[in-house]
Amino acid sequence: MSQDIVLCEQCDAVHRWRPLASSEVARCRRCGAVIARGHRLSVSGLLALTVAAGVMLAVAVSTPVMTLQLRGDESAATLLDAIAATWGAGERLVAASAALTAIVAPAVLIALRLVILWPMWQGRCPNHLAWCMRALHEASHWNMVEVLLVGAVVSVVRIASMAPSMPGPGMVAFAALTLLLAALEAAGIKHLWQELS
């Protein structure tokens, strides 16, 4: 099938395709949904963003999101500590869903992009490309890092009435990760199919 036709994902309206300049957005004439965006990032640019996001995720899960002081005692919790505490308190499904949406989903998004982008950057065709692209499509719906970030801000304010609390380095890392993942999402990955075929 030729590539000069594109269907709107939301309503199946048929449109003639033409390549988009960077920052150009194609919208459906009938329902207004975004059909495609023009991309300005090269493979090496995408790879750089992905590596940065991976580093930030590692920092974000391994350093305290917030610290709390009470009568000389200090308590600092990383996201992993918080999930372990919830698991220990018996709310295992809640702990598992928090881990899936705030750690596993972003980790999978970053890992799959690395598997696709690293060989392309070296001029090779990635292995298992179709499988990776499909998994990426599914995983992108379950990444909720930005919600976790707002949740962390709310938490710091909520416990301030109990004891002096401070945001930790993990929160800064989560903020950076949120921005990087948003940039990656906007930069897109589906257009790489055209470069590969």
Binding site: M66, V147, S155
Partner: protein, 210 residues
């Protein structure tokens, strides 16, 4: 430039966007096939879309009651025990004069789930009973529901983080309570409901394919 694909001779892959010729277009069969480029299943319509949407919606409405009535979190503060429901947590933020955060949490935990359930019920109902009514607005409504859905997880993360950091025994500690599980389930079920709804149904002509 624009037009419908009447007998749906073309299928667009929802994963990679490749347009393929529908091998079953002539016989109008609902048989599915896979995208030749990425292997994602291709369907003229998502199978059982409305049934799944209604089922997930019914489940989330049932769980909505315990999610709001049961406490989601309990605190121990200098030997005093308190339990908080969703509304209780928002009230506390408001009393402490954190108005911006109170509005954000109210929007994420109360307004978004209710609007989402209402909007999806309206969308699913109108496919059958008001197919021509305000199609562009309904399409936009669906995109909004898809975009804001996951923000309701906010309160779940707040309780998880608080139980992780506040553990000074009887001086001060926070524990998650069963209402949190019901609330998390409402969020996940409404997300599944909106993902099951096929927005292409909004543009379907009545009696076109049942």
């Amino acid at each position: 430039m624009t037009g419908d694909a009447p007998a749906r001779p073309l299928l667009s892959c929802r994963c990679c966007g490749l347009v393929s010729r529908n091998p079953h277009a002539a016989c109008d069969a609902v048989a599915s096939c896979r995208c030749p480029r990425c292997g994602h299943p291709l369907h003229p319509r998502q199978p059982g879309s409305l049934q799944k949407t209604w089922a997930y919606l019914a489940a989330s409405v049932m769980l909505y009651v315990p999610a709001n009535v049961l406490p989601i979190m309990s605190t121990t503060n200098f030997f005093r025990q308190d339990t908080y429901t969703i509304v209780g947590g928002i009230a506390e933020l408001w009393i402490e004069a954190s108005w911006v955060l109170a509005v954000i949490v109210f929007t994420a935990s109360i307004a978004v789930p209710l609007l989402k359930i209402g909007a999806l019920a309206l969308l699913a109902w109108s496919v059958r009973y008001a197919p021509h009514w305000r199609r562009v607005e309904r399409a936009r409504l669906y995109r909004v529901v898809e975009a804001v859905g996951h923000w309701s997880m906010l309160d779940v993360y707040v309780v998880v983080l608080l139980s992780g950091v506040v553990h000074f025994g009887r001086l001060a500690s926070v524990h998650p309570e069963p209402g949190l599980l019901a609330f998390g389930a409402v969020v996940v079920l409404t997300m599944l409901a909106s993902r099951s709804f096929d927005p292409r149904l909004i543009w379907q002509e009545p009696r076109a394919d049942g």
